[in-house]
């Protein structure tokens, strides 16, 4: 019984220490970095926020580039974003960055692996709540984002969700889940903009 009570006491302590805004971290960075960059030898983790990097001015700039406002209780300036800078020996070979995006039935966590020029080398849903989640999380769907970069998303307007240019080739794997399909593009565009604005991608 003593052990049970001790555990409860420690759990209370753990639960009470959680107060920071939720960012978007890899569930298992060691494993995930190696999976996304098989030739990597290490990585560094950086925590950055719009508030810290430029405040309201930066927020306005990001929103303008995104073509949409940051909305709701949880898409705010102070959300900490986690950037994993990936190394091969001492050389930076790329980045991994995830964002939270509001989906139809729950939160979507969209991770991108990028090379140093900002080209997507891997696309990955860490979390997605939808009846068609399996189709979205399939390798085939994710592969369609590989090779794209910010210039492909510049014209994308989250409000209309209309796909043009190279993006038009990406097919919705679950037509019933149109909202999450559109949310994915908004999330990817936001992810790329933030990586540029935070100064990781030139």
């Amino acid at each position: 019984m003593k052990h049970v009570l001790l555990m409860l006491a420690l759990m209370l302590a753990a639960a009470m220490s959680l107060h920071a805004a939720v960012g978007c971290d890899l569930n298992d960075p060691d494993r995930d970095v190696k999976r996304l960059f098989p030739n990597s030898s290490g990585y560094k983790t950086f925590y950055v926020s719009v508030q810290q990097k430029g405040g309201k001015d930066l927020l306005a700039k990001v929103e303008k580039r995104l073509g949409d406002k940051f909305t709701g209780m949880f898409e705010t300036m102070d959300v900490p974003y986690t950037v994993y800078e990936v190394y091969k020996d001492k050389q930076v070979i790329g980045y991994i960055h995830g964002v939270n995006q509001k989906g139809q039935y729950g939160g979507i966590q969209i991770f991108l692996a990028l090379d140093t020029k900002g080209t997507i080398t891997a696309f990955y849903y860490q979390k997605l709540t939808n009846q068609s989640a399996k189709a979205f999380r399939s390798a085939e769907f994710g592969r369609q984002f590989v090779g794209l970069s910010m210039k492909d998303f510049t014209a994308y307007e989250p409000a209309t969700g209309k796909l043009e240019g190279t993006l038009a080739k990406i097919k919705n794997p679950a037509p019933k889940a149109e909202r999450d399909f559109k949310a994915t593009f908004r999330g990817v565009k936001k992810n790329l903009i933030l990586m540029e604005e935070f100064g990781y991608i030139k």
Partner: protein, 398 residues
């Protein structure tokens, strides 16, 4: 004729740096003392508040059932054991029981959470009784469920943040096709409720096919109830385990007791150092003024005058240090709070160090008492100076 205070004050000002350093030393000791006395009363109050915030004093669960979401996660969502809802009637039959609230914890595997899936836990609650037990829960948005069996959900702040849910949004329950509407998002409470997704118990039972079953019952008993005796009575029910919040409190208190003893020991050492420091400062001052005191006595100052003068200087030093230390402890209360939190195995959520005026006065009183005791020897030493010998001497005491 100058007053005793005036003479003592001037004497202290003659060696300003030494007086100042002595006052700072006393102030630091007072700071430690006030903070620790504040901690003693603050910790107890804070812990009681946390326990009260749990809403019930006794949690009844099926034997071996993990009763906390965190334990459930550690066990990979397995190991849930159920009790029939009818057990509530047996519990309520006891006149010592003020209120009960049934709960159903349900954990499901969500294959789309993380690389290889994860566990999501839900807590089914009775909207008629649970909110009354957890009165500290406040809403950021919305409110509790509209009906006992409604397909609705209330999210703790952190679970809402993770799922990016707000009032009016839909949420798909994993391992089912059921979609619930978010009707409330709670404010941060600093408890495990922040990470909980609440559903009406009837709805949760129906969706996951566990009708008429519960995993735990929260029990609030009458104030005058002997909890230990009541727990024994509960164990007469078959296959149950009883978790008493009084026991939890005792366990936490035991965890902290060792740390408190260590910290109090440090405080006593700090006070002793201050005491020796004061005595040393005043004694040095007496030795330096050996001739001067001799002259004062030759001019008619009585032994009692000299004794009172030196003693008063000591009391002035300790009073100034005590006041400064009390002010410091009040200003630095939050810093002290953080420092203490960093060494404790468990810290309640609200303020650990509660400094109030009564406590500050008490500490000043203790420090002045120390000053009074410390000042006796130097004052006695000064009072017994023989004028002729003192005037003849060249280097203070011979």
């Amino acid at each position: 004729m100058p007053s005793l205070f005036g003479v003592a004050w001037k004497n202290l000002l003659r060696k300003r740096l030494r007086s100042l350093l002595t006052i700072v030393g006393i102030a630091l000791s007072t700071w430690v003392l006030v903070s620790l006395l504040g901690f003693n009363q603050g910790y107890e109050n804070s812990l009681n508040k946390d326990i009260d915030n749990l809403g019930f004093q006794v949690l009844l669960t099926a034997k071996g059932c993990p009763y906390e979401a965190a334990t459930l996660m550690l066990k990979g969502g397995t190991g849930l054991k159920y009790m029939p809802e009818s057990i509530i009637d047996s519990v309520v039959a006891n006149p010592q029981v003020e209120r009960v609230t049934p709960m159903l914890m349900h954990a499901v595997f969500d294959p789309n959470k993380g690389e290889s899936g994860g566990i999501t836990a839900f807590l089914g609650i009775d909207p008629a009784t649970y909110p009354a037990m957890k009165t500290y829960l406040q809403f950021q948005q919305g409110s509790w469920f509209s009906r006992p069996e409604a397909l609705e959900a209330v999210f703790g702040y952190e679970s809402a943040e993770l799922e990016q849910r707000e009032v009016g949004d839909e949420y798909l329950l994993p391992e089912s096709d059921a979609v619930v509407t978010v009707v409330g998002v709670l404010k941060r409470s600093g408890t495990q409720d922040d990470g909980t997704i609440f559903l009406p118990i009837k709805a949760l039972q129906k969706i996951y096919g566990v009708e008429n079953l519960v995993t735990s019952i929260g029990i609030k008993v009458q104030k005058e109830t002997d909890l230990t005796a009541y727990e024994e009575e509960l164990y007469k029910l078959t296959d149950v385990q009883v978790v008493s919040m009084a026991q939890v409190k005792q366990t936490i208190s035991n965890l902290v007791a060792t740390a408190r003893v260590m910290v109090m020991s440090i405080a006593i050492i700090a006070i002793l150092i201050a005491m020796v420091g004061v005595m040393n400062t005043v004694l040095m001052s007496v030795l330096e003024r050996w001739q001067e005191i001799g002259i004062m006595k030759s001019m008619g100052a009585m032994t009692s005058h000299i004794f009172r003068l030196i003693w008063f200087e000591t009391i002035l030093l300790t009073f100034a240090g005590g006041v400064l230390g009390s002010v410091m402890s009040w200003i630095l209360a939050s810093t002290t709070d953080t420092l203490i939190r960093s060494v404790l195995p468990y810290s309640p959520t609200s303020s650990l160090v509660q400094v109030d005026i009564l406590l500050a006065l008490k500490a000043i009183g203790i420090i002045m008492a120390i000053g009074i005791v410390s000042g006796i020897y130097p004052a006695w030493k000064a009072a017994r100076i023989r004028p002729i010998e003192a005037i003849r001497s060249t280097d203070g005491e011979q």
